[in-house]
Amino acid sequence: MAKMNMLQAINNALDLAMAKDDSVVCFGEDVGHFGGVFRATSKLQEKYGKARCFNTPLTEQGIAGFANGMAAQGMKPVAEIQFADYIFPAFDQIVNETAKFRYRSGNEFNVGGIVFRSPYGGGIAGGHYHSQSPEAYFAHTPGLKVVIPRDPYQAKGLLLASITCPDPVIFFEPKKLYRASTGEVPEEYYEIELGKAEVTQQGKDITVLAWGAQMEIVQKAVEMAEKDGISCEVIDLRSILPWDADTVAASVKKTGRLLINHEAPLTGGFAGEIAATIQKMCFLHLESPIERVCGMDTPYPLALEKEYVADHLKTYEAIKRSVNF
């Protein structure tokens, strides 16, 4: 074990993946010698050469199209989109091409080797073009997998599983936690299974569900609620697509209540999908309406970021609202 922050854990995962498999190639804007604007690909070019770790021109649709072609040939491209806010020029390549490659060809071809890595989320004074959480757009696309880690240990294991996964994965990294989140991480290779949520804390009064950077926010709210005598079960969804409805439903059947927290705006956010599914699976077990604590339906603000975000106080209030319904 070694103490690592999330960037070091991601860098370590990429290093191990490239050492293990020659077909793993990392590229994106500033990814080469510089090691990425956040340094996630630091030293990889030095170690594995310019052919396997390189800068690309400033073209997200080009990066995604290039990745599709490489993966169709059988390689495992790990392509970085510098900010999730800038993934939209690549939307057609990802939604119409990556996601449908295997299906439309009847499995003659596939691009399952792809991982698109991209820093997402707010809390860094980034305003609306350096803070967005676009996971719901991609969760609406059959053929993709969408994964979001909450800490360095999870980031390494989930990223390595994403690289070996036979389906294309969009791996959103909570950039707020890149350096802020540290923890003990095994130095050797390990994978964490995709598509499985994790119950991070057992409780009996309410299930609190989140992912990525919001996990530490809800944890803070849960600790406040516990001082009021409310016992919370906490779940990290980890995979947004496919998502582990069974684990969430089992928990809600036990607690009778569910709160979902995400950074992205409320309307059309992934919490709506979870709420609809869980109310159907757990209808007779629910003791209060499912609560959603999310970003407001505005572009991500700058000066008023604190007011906008789905913070621990809003979450704490929603926990109480649910329990006292």
């Binding site: 199209g65 290039f66 072609g69 059988g74 091409e97 299906y103 499995n107 997998k145």
Partner: protein, 394 residues
């Protein structure tokens, strides 16, 4: 002085424009309409077997197009796209490639597909989206693809294959393969952002890809004059620092020669090359289109004189490799063969219900399995409403 790329650039001391039409790319023509060679032109080295295969493929595709457009008009298939007038473009270029060079096409390249060996049965199974279709009946007619013959499955969104071809060719280079990728697209698709993205990526990362632009004058109804300004698409390659060639796309010898040169260069120097081929789209865009609303019969007649098959036939007859009388019998035989294959394919069952969810992922995710189980229960309740699958759910 140098530019930030450290390339030497020339300087002037009084301001002057470089004209927007300063770069004019010449167009290679080898074969005249009467089957003779242009003065100074040399025919590429072609053995008889290859030349006859090229000719047979063009004839096959023309007859296939004629029959299948008729089948669409009869309501037997839902949609069709012919390549009338462009047969030499795709057959001539495919003939210049190695069998394991990847072909990433747009949708009007059935000539290249047939040259690679796609069988009549495979064409029919795709067109009828039956259970023998390699694509499992998921895409509209003419979206062919086959891993065995290195022909990437067609995707409808325009231009998406361009940056993909750059990535595919880069991967071929990384793996040390002596193969290239050819990427076909139209002059309309060259207006997409993916064109720029793909060419720039290939140029910067030295991917051995041949970008093959079929400039056929029309994007559905939009004429080339409303698609771009100036000399054509080839000159754009020069802006990306890439070698360019332009050919008369109805001249199969010119197309073959240019593609051979492009392939050799791409592999020898690990560089992309762009070929622009000019051949008029004589047919409609698709079976859903009617060109009489946007162009004149006179215009079509003018281009019809440039028939790529007639021109090549004259050359082959002149060489003594083809007997003109043979041709009519061949065409009749082909018509019968195609009709017979059509009758077989239209009776083959549609894909089974499991193929609604297969291949979305490598293995179906739990939610998909559950949705399929619910659907099967529903179909069992209303079997008459779902005749294709009701009788064979297990």
């Amino acid at each position: 002085m140098t530019n930030p790329n450290n390339a030497t650039i020339t300087t002037v001391h009084t301001a002057e424009f470089t004209a927007g039409d300063a770069l004019k790319i010449p167009t290679l023509r080898i074969l005249r309409d009467d089957g003779s060679l242009y003065e100074g032109a040399v025919a590429p080295e072609l053995d008889k077997a290859t030349a006859i295969k090229m000719y047979d493929t063009m004839v096959f595709i023309r007859v296939l197009d004629e029959r299948m457009l008729a089948a669409q008009r009869q309501g037997r298939i839902s949609f069709y796209m012919q390549c009338l007038g462009e047969e030499a473009t795709t057959v001539g270029s495919a003939a210049a490639l190695a069998e394991q060079d990847m072909i990433m096409a747009q949708y009007r390249e059935q000539g290249a597909l047939r040259y690679r060996g796609f069988t009549l049965e495979q064409f029919m199974n795709q067109l009828f989206s039956n259970e023998k279709d390699l694509g499992k009946g998921r895409q509209m007619p003419v979206h062919y693809g086959s891993k065995d013959i290195y022909y990437m499955t067609i995707s409808s969104p325009l231009g998406t294959q361009i940056p993909q071809a750059s990535g595919y060719a880069y991967a071929q280079k990384l793996r040390g393969l002596a193969n290239t990728t050819i990427c076909y697209f139209g002059e309309g698709a060259a207006s997409e952002g993916d064109f720029h993205a793909g060419l720039n990526m290939a140029a910067v990362h030295k991917a051995p890809v041949i970008f093959f632009c079929r400039n056929n004058g029309y994007a559905i109804s939009t004429p080339a004059s409303e698609q771009f300004v100036g000399d054509g698409i080839a000159c754009r390659a020069v802006g990306y620092g890439m070698k360019a060639l332009r050919v008369d796309g109805a001249d199969i010898l010119a197309v073959y020669q240019a593609t051979k040169m492009a392939r050799d260069h791409a592999l020898k120097h690990n560089e992309p090359v762009l070929i622009e081929s000019i051949a008029y789209r004589l047919g409609a865009h698709s079976s859903s289109d009617d060109p009489s609303g946007y162009r004149s019969k006179e215009e079509e007649e003018k281009w019809r004189q440039n028939d790529p098959i007639a021109r090549f036939r004259l050359w082959l007859v002149e060489k003594g490799w083809l007997n003109d009388a043979d041709d009519k019998a061949t065409i009749e035989a082909l018509r019968t063969e195609i009709l017979d294959a059509l009758k077989v394919a239209e009776k083959v069952a549609k894909p089974g219900i499991e193929h609604l969810i297969s291949d979305v992922y490598a293995e179906p995710i739990p939610a998909l399995q559950q949705q399929l189980d619910e659907l099967k229960a529903h179909i069992r309740k209303y079997p008459d409403a779902y005749p294709v699958t009701a009788g064979r759910l297990d």
